[in-house]
């Protein structure tokens, strides 16, 4: 059973979607929200597997709402017509439905979701796991200006502190997010993400090479070619972790 939340400011639009979803018994609509603030609240309290998200809403847009979330659930966007949004989708291959929604398109989108889930089941986290820590397979929504991405944490090589922001390195992209490195460190799984120095958090699974460096420090070369220095203090910790 997939537990879903519909977030849309229009009652009729929500009703229409619910009606269409009746043909898919595996989807259970557990809640509805009429704006971004309400959406965030319901997502945090109900922890749904999937959200249907309208982009243009009063107050904050759907994109803004997603970038506020610590952990992005599976999202299917719904929009009537929005050139900019459609462009963002094309670039990042996020899934979206155009209103009025075609039943066939909805079926396709849900099937795609099911396939992804079979690969990496999303609902097999033991309930006891501390929800405030992001796992390796969790995804985050990153928005930088007009562009947005869903990124699996396991694909992120590096977080770099830039003032109040953090630069996120994945693939060929390095967008900025409004989060401090310290706040990130608290939320990330320390078995995977390691604070190399004051300015960098690296993904231990995506290190290409390790070399000794001045003062007993280390120099890490990441899979993307970035060279990161490990401070002396952290080197001790790093060696401890790696040698078990």
């Amino acid at each position: 059973m997939i537990r879903a939340i519909i977030i849309d400011d229009e009652r009729l639009a929500r009703n229409e979607l619910k009606k269409l979803l009746m043909d898919f018994p595996e989807i259970e609509v557990i809640a509805e929200a009429t704006n971004a603030a309400e959406g965030v609240e319901k997502i945090d309290s109900l922890n749904p597997d999937l959200i249907f998200l309208d982009i243009q809403m009063p107050g904050k847009t759907g994109f803004d709402m997603l970038s506020e979330l610590e952990r992005a659930p599976n999202v299917i966007f719904t929009t009537a017509y929005d050139e900019y949004a459609l462009k963002a989708f094309e670039v990042n291959a996020l899934d979206y439905l155009l209103k009025p929604v075609e039943p066939k398109r909805l079926a396709d989108a849900l099937q795609k979701l099911q396939l992804e889930e079979d690969k990496e089941p999303i609902s097999d986290h033991p309930i006891s796991v501390n929800r405030s820590i992001l796992g390796e397979h969790d995804q985050v929504f990153v928005k930088d200006g007009e562009r947005c991405w869903f990124v699996k944490l396991s694909d992120i090589r590096l977080f770099e502190s830039v003032g109040n922001y953090a630069k996120v390195y994945f693939g060929a992209n390095k967008p900025l997010i409004l989060k401090s490195l310290n706040a990130l460190e608290e939320r990330l799984d320390e078995k995977v993400f390691f604070r190399a120095n004051r300015k960098h958090i690296v993904n231990l699974r995506l290190i290409e090479k390790i070399e000794p460096y001045f003062n007993g420090g280390l120099l890490l070369e990441m899979k993307g070619g970035e060279k990161i220095e490990v401070s002396r203090r952290q080197t001790v910790k790093f060696k401890e972790m790696m040698s078990l």
Partner: protein, 392 residues
């Protein structure tokens, strides 16, 4: 041995052959063809090069032909002949080039044929005489005159001028008609370009008038209504058709009555009300006498759409749209008020606001006005003033 002028007569049929071969391509580089508000550089930059290439090769070819003629007719190629030919080519190029400058500067090419021809004729005559005089002057100065062509000055001048005419008239005809054809071809192209531009603008305005976001949202609401409230769904479809129809007709009309426009706006707001439900309140304050007043088509509609897009849809709790129409002094005053704030978000809409004012002043003169401002802290008011036409 042939005298030089006689030789020229022989060469004359050749001249007819040669001129058409050397295609004249004049430059009009930098000359802008005004066509409505479209300016375009009409000719490629290397046109000037073609012109000179044609001039030099044309006259040079002519000189070459003369040399060949003289040698086949067993005439010795004397230094005098070479000198004569150099002067012939030089004078020809110089005079026709001056002629071209005159034609270009005085814009004869743009005149209708019947007006241009007399001017060209006079020009040709003057140029032919000038050419002869230049040649005489050089021949005298360099002492190149052939002893056998001793004639009195007047008859020599007439003969040479006539001979020049046989070259310069074809030159002029080719020059003129080449440009005549070129111009009409270009005009056709410009007309086509203009038509395409008009079409594009028409499409753009239709798109600007009816926001696709609105259409698809309306359709989505109507689909939901089909089960929930079939009667309302049916009227909604009629309302949507009215809006689509009037937006397509809008381009063809300069003005519509306020009543007609108001009906579209009522349909529009009824549809938005389906979407926003109790988040949208609508109020009309209409002086019945203003219903006959002319206004630009789709103007009110655009303003109301903006009120929804930038006002109501941004408010979590929704808001109110109020439409006021009355007479104030000698003006028809239209006001659209909506809950919301006037801020930077309006910038993207700048085009719509500027074009609204522009359109009003084109239709109703400088006294017509349009402004938009914030009142009472959370209301935005757009106000249109149209002077009343007393003659009606």
């Amino acid at each position: 041995m042939l005298s030089t002028p006689a030789f020229m007569y022989h060469a004359e049929p050749m001249a007819y052959l040669i001129w058409p071969l050397v295609q004249f391509r004049d430059d009009q580089e930098g000359e802008k063809v005004r066509f409505g508000s479209i300016h375009c550089i009409s000719m490629p930059k290397n046109a000037n090069r073609y012109y000179w290439w044609c001039q030099i090769s044309g006259w040079g070819f002519l000189a070459l032909v003369m040399v060949l003629f003289s040698s086949t007719l067993d005439q010795k190629i004397t230094q005098k002949l070479v000198g004569f030919l150099v002067i012939f080519v030089f004078a020809g190029i110089l005079t026709t080039h001056i002629f071209r400058e005159v034609i270009r500067r005085s814009g004869w090419l743009l005149l209708p044929v019947e007006k241009a021809l007399p001017k060209l004729l006079v020009g040709v005559l003057l140029i032919c005489v000038a050419d002869s005089l230049i040649r005489f002057a050089f021949i005298e100065a360099l002492d190149l005159s052939t002893s056998k062509s001793k004639m009195d000055f007047i008859s020599r001048l007439l003969a040479t001028t006539f001979e020049n005419g046989l070259l310069i008239i074809p030159w002029t005809l080719i020059y003129y008609f080449y440009h005549y054809i070129e111009n009409s071809r270009r005009q056709q192209l410009d007309t086509l370009k203009l038509e395409a531009l008009v079409k594009e603008l028409e499409l753009k305005t239709i798109k600007a008038h009816i926001n696709p976001h609105f259409i698809f949202n309306a359709l989505n609401s109507i689909r939901a209504l089909v089960d929930e409230n079939p009667v309302r769904a049916r009227t909604a479809i009629t309302e949507l058709s009215n809006i689509l129809r009037s937006s397509m007709q809008a381009e063809k009309l300069e003005t519509v009555t306020f009543e007609k426009e108001l009906n579209i706006v009522k349909d529009y707001l009824a549809l938005e009300h389906i979407r926003f439900e109790d988040r949208l309140q609508i109020e009309y304050v209409i002086d019945e006498d203003t219903l006959d007043q002319p206004i630009p088509p789709m103007m009110l509609q655009t303003l109301v759409e903006n009120a929804i897009k930038h006002g109501i849809s941004k408010q979590i709790g929704g808001g109110k749209v109020k439409i006021v129409s009355d007479f104030k002094d000698n003006y028809h005053e239209l006001m659209i008020q909506n809950t919301g704030y006037l801020n930077g978000a309006r910038n993207g809409d700048g085009f719509g606001l500027a074009s609204t004012k522009n359109r009003l002043q084109i239709l109703f003169g400088q006294k017509a006005n349009f402004d938009i401002r914030e009142i009472d802290g959370n209301t935005v008011e757009a106000r249109v003033l149209i002077p009343i036409d007393m003659s009606k």
